[in-house]
Point group: C2
């Protein structure tokens, strides 16, 4: 079964990503294995107070059972029995010159309908254009191997999804976001302005694409960590990082479908909220000074630029 092989891939990807992060950080993740009362379970791995990461969480889960009523109308397919497997990670570096990053890849099956979803997005505190370009180009290359239409479509979808509506501001410089791939044209129609790709009619080709994207995560992110991890940090830069982390919390608790779905359906709270930053500030009416690096970062984030196609 495809979903068995997908679960195996996501479990192995968790191992490889955790190993790569431990190498660069120098500290070890702790592991909590957990069972879901309704069926299935997962492995949550968390690193705290590391050399690079103030908090890093990488979760694998493979759960199954019966949907409650509130989910029945919200997902493609029919019937109430489901299985869902995937990997989800959020990394909060200590140094504000290293961006926060999120990635998630998953397969869901409901009755006879199955689909892939996922993506990866970068949230810099101090934008360096070359980092955003590298991140986007690496993800674009993974998309292009499957379908030339994927990157522009999923980049746009990402800009739309990771958006803090009440601030009228994206969460970061984006990346990829996709959902319902393989569930049929009507399921993706809302977000896709381009016609579905032939790849989407073929679950094996979609799985190939998801593996390309999952495998691209470390190459997209680790070189940025290497470049920035030793940069000196002032108290003002730390403060800005903590304020910007507050925006991350606002997005995750108010808008993120995975977080809200997990909390409302009795998911494992600590595995869901491991995405929240370890230390955060909210300051009333904080605005960066005009022309400052903080203001420039904010302007670049708000610009939702076409990073993959920017020079050099």
């Amino acid at each position: 079964m495809l979903i068995e092989r997908a679960a195996e891939y996501f479990r192995d990807l968790q191992d490889r990503i955790v190993a790569g992060l431990e190498r660069i950080d120098g500290s070890r993740f702790r592991e909590d294995r957990w069972d879901r009362p309704g069926g299935g379970g997962g492995r949550t791995r968390v690193l705290v107070d590391g050399g690079v990461f103030e908090k890093a969480g990488v979760n694998f889960s493979d759960v199954h059972g019966e949907f409650g009523k509130e989910m029945a109308g919200a997902l493609p397919g029919s019937g109430t029995s489901f299985r869902a497997t995937g990997i989800s990670l959020v990394l909060h570096p200590r140094n504000p010159h290293v961006p926060t990053v999120h990635a998630n890849f998953r397969r869901l099956e409901r009755g006879d309908t199955g689909w892939f979803g996922g993506g990866a997005d970068l949230t810099p505190y101090y934008l360096r254009a070359e980092d955003a370009v590298h991140f986007h180009r690496t993800l674009k290359a993974a998309c292009d191997g499957a379908d030339q239409g994927f990157y522009p479509r999923f980049k746009k979808w990402c800009d739309q999804y990771f958006f803090i509506t009440h601030r009228n501001e994206p969460r970061g410089v984006g990346g990829l976001f996709f959902d319902y791939l393989g569930a049929g044209a009507e399921a993706t129609a809302g977000a896709a302005s381009t016609p579905p790709s032939p790849v989407e009619a073929d679950a094996e080709r979609l799985f190939d694409f998801v593996r390309q994207a999952g495998d691209a995560f470390l190459p997209a992110y680790l070189p940025i960590v290497e470049r920035r991890r030793q940069e000196p940090v002032t108290d003002e830069q730390r403060r800005w990082q903590l304020i910007r982390r507050g925006r991350y919390v606002e997005f995750n608790l108010i808008y993120d479908r995975g977080t809200i779905f997990g909390l409302r359906t009795d998911g494992r709270v600590e595995s869901i909220l491991m995405s929240l930053p370890p230390e955060v500030r909210w300051e009333y009416c904080h605005e960066p000074a005009a022309g400052s690096p903080e203001a420039e970062t904010l302007a670049a984030i708000r610009g939702r630029l076409d990073w993959a196609n920017r020079g050099p």
Copy 2:
């Protein structure tokens, strides 16, 4: 008109509460006056890095206009024209032995229907029973002057409303919460297990009650500040305060109707989110040690005790 007099009362209450807080803190609030594009406006007053308060926000607003569709079905009355006026405050003390407190009193009118809502609730980091008893008894006395049935009803309503469902845990030791008072029996039926009081048929008597409750806020809270503000603080106590503030953020961003309503209807973001604590921590799987003051506080919060009727 009653709502004019209510707006006048709330504006004056803001002045008196801010004056009382400035006296005890030794620092001054800044004031931002703002206009709402759709009609009306407000005065937001914020104190940051004070002698007692790390962040304190006291907001007055008096707004009017037309509801959007998403509100039309959610409120009593008919038609789309409305006016809403009230005071809302959240105080985050620096010392973890001083509890965080929230209060809100408001009047809404929609077409021919008008009602009062509001309450006050206390969130200790280190519970002292005498503080919770004093807070509840002071509020109970304000209720009893209007109707002996109010305190038990509004205390229970508060315990139900300020509840962090995904943690299966109340936000704090409660206080009062009431809504839709005066809008008719069917509007309050959901939360009231007792029959409506004759006071609720008389808007003037309800306004008297709201003034009693509003005037009780400083006497309910300030003596607790006086008692606790000089207590010594360890790093571990500060850390516990920051973790518990994270629960406060979770409640406000996920469940609080006022916050969600404000953010989804283009309210002034900084006035809405001034309720968020200045500094916050999220730690993966943090559990206080058995028998510690932290664990005892949590047990008392979870117990939802009958504070007003506890000895001595």
